[in-house]
Amino acid sequence: MKLKFLLKFAILNFWSHKMRAILTVAAVTIGVAAIIFLVSLGFGLEHLVTQQVVNFEAFSIVDVPSASLKTLGVGQSIIDKIKAVPHVVEVEPAVSFAGRFKVTGSDNSTEVVANAATQRYYEFSSLATENGAMPQGENEVAISADYPKLVNLDEKSLIGKSIDLEAIIPQEYLPRDEIVDPDKKVALETGSYKVVGIVPSQNTPTIIMNLSGTKKLKVIQYTSLKVKSDSSDTTVIQEVRKGIENIGMSTEYVGDTIAQITQVFSVFRVILGLFGLIALIVAAIGTFNTLTISLLERLREIGLLKALGMTSPNIYRLFITESLFISFSGGILGIILGTGVGQAINYVLSYMARQAHVDKVAIFTTPITFGIGVAIFSLLVGFLTGWYPARRAVRTNALDALRYE
């Protein structure tokens, strides 16, 4: 029997009871749509969180945190050693310290965290201003939005103003000849800067300055480094981390955080997928029931087909094809429905976000591989539900079937 005729036979058989056919396919569609919808929510939320955590470039960057640097007193020599590690293409330093600042001419000062780093370091950190520009020269700073909020000022009104910064610098950040009193742990250094931009909230008032801006504060040591590798491949990153750790540094990698997030969301997705699976199991039982009833209704037909010479493998294929047809059409419709509803919700949320002047939101993401996986899975369900009726049809004696009333 030709495959084309087998398909036509199966589809015509199935379609001969239209209402039953529609309801059975609808059940599978809802089951598959439930899985797609719920798991896409899991993927979407994970994507949303990871997007907030990193940009794409971050996967090729290894962080060398401040804790170990402080103890070692990292300067240019350490940077040079790290630069010599295979696959390292850039090493960008940063230094953080506390301080107090006031707008020039004002009486009120505010406690602040100051971060000084190279332009590339800020790019690696995806730090950008929401108003104005990032500091370029040694006299420029950006202030986090926390400060204008704290003092109830318009962000833009700060841009162009001068500030006086009194920095509390740990002595190990300074050159030896600058240490006047070795018993004191910190030195107070001052400097004046011009505010050129406002960066998004850092949770506490923060001053962002170019690394060159620390010259007037006499800082020569760094509290953290960002090391860029020539590849984001896991093996290469591992080699880079090992090379840095061999120098005596500890390392952190954003991939670790992402892996943890992914792990948490994997569990979340499985739980959501299980809820959807319940609907699909109910649909599979419905399909099984439909096929079994259809088998009993068509027992005499099976007897006829066997008497006319239809072989057992062809009888088996006929029933399996019918079952696969139900599950595949239900699966495809379910994928379209599940994805469509998710995208519709994304559209509504994005519309609301636009109205509220915030970034658009997509909480449903359906990776294409997941869609393909679900389509294959629905075929597998079709095969399983069709297997028993198909086997029973094959085992039915032709003469018994012909006599069946």
């Binding site: 029997m1 030709k2 084309k4 005729f5 036509k8 036979f9 015509l12 058989n13 379609w15 001969s16 068509r298 005499r300 037909e301 007897g303 006829l304 087909l305 066997k306 008497a307 006319l308 010479g309 239809m310 072989t311 057992s312 493998p313 062809n314 032709a398 003469l399 012909l402």
Partner: protein, 248 residues
């Protein structure tokens, strides 16, 4: 081909296991059917006519004995090989018209060819020719159930012959028909045998068709009866019993 033996049934027995007891449906039946034969198997109810016919087509495996169709021992073949052999060499007409409900008449008639892997377009073309021969082409797009019993049986005959089989077997093909339709079907069978040289094996209750047969196989209690007159008498008694019940 005139005296060629097409079917050779050699000491075939069939015993059915009924659980608590066993039923001997056929007892060492031996029959030979030649290529030009219009063989009619007849006998009273329960004599084993249909069992013999089913054994002949490979649908009912005998407990003992052999069935050879032009030199092929049917029961030495696997079940699938037997199905394929039946599909190619036999045309079957059933007592009650049986159809695939999802198909229209023309696809149903084309079914033996389609099951054999024929090209659908060619199969449909042949089915149209077969339906034309039995004057049913106008019903080709209808569902068979929409036709009368006689028309369905004629269409069944077209289906049985579409793949040009060696042997046409018919199990009481007129059993459910009115006299006019039954005569039409019998006329077609007779024509097929006389003018198209088709081998026909038919099971019937109706003694009126016996004159058409070139070979009469009378059966009684699971075996071929030596005294055909006894068999005729038994069948007539059966008719009278049925008619008596209907009269009451």
């Amino acid at each position: 081909m005139t005296h060629e033996t097409v079917i050779k049934i050699d000491r075939v027995s069939k015993e059915f296991d009924l659980g608590l007891s066993k039923y001997q449906a056929l007892r060492e039946v031996s029959v030979e059917i030649e290529a030009t034969d219009f063989a009619i198997i007849y006998g009273p109810s329960g004599c084993g006519k249909s069992t013999l016919l089913n054994t002949m087509t490979g649908l009912e495996e005998p407990t003992a004995g052999s069935v050879n169709v032009r030199g092929t021992n049917l029961y030495s073949l696997s079940e699938n090989e037997r199905s394929q052999f039946r599909a190619a060499k036999f045309g079957i007409v059933f007592q009650q018209p049986l159809w695939v409900k999802a198909f229209d008449l023309i696809h149903n008639v084309a079914l033996p060819l389609l099951l054999n892997g024929a090209n659908e377009q060619k199969a449909i073309q042949k089915a149209a020719e077969a339906l034309e021969e039995v004057d049913l082409l106008k019903f080709s797009k209808h569902k068979p159930a929409e036709m009368s019993g006689g028309q369905q049986q004629k269409a069944g005959l077209a289906r049985a012959l579409i793949h040009n089989p060696w042997i046409l077997v018919a199990d009481e093909p007129t059993g459910n028909l009115d006299t006019h339709s039954a005569d039409e079907v019998m006329g077609l069978l007779n024509k097929l045998n006389k003018y198209h040289r088709r081998t026909i094996v038919m099971v019937t209750h109706n003694l009126a068709y016996l004159p058409m047969a070139s070979k009469k196989i009378a059966m009684r209690d699971g075996t071929t009866a030596e005294n055909a007159l006894d068999v005729n008498k038994l069948i007539r008694n059966e008719y009278q019993t049925v008619l008596g019940k209907e009269a009451k």
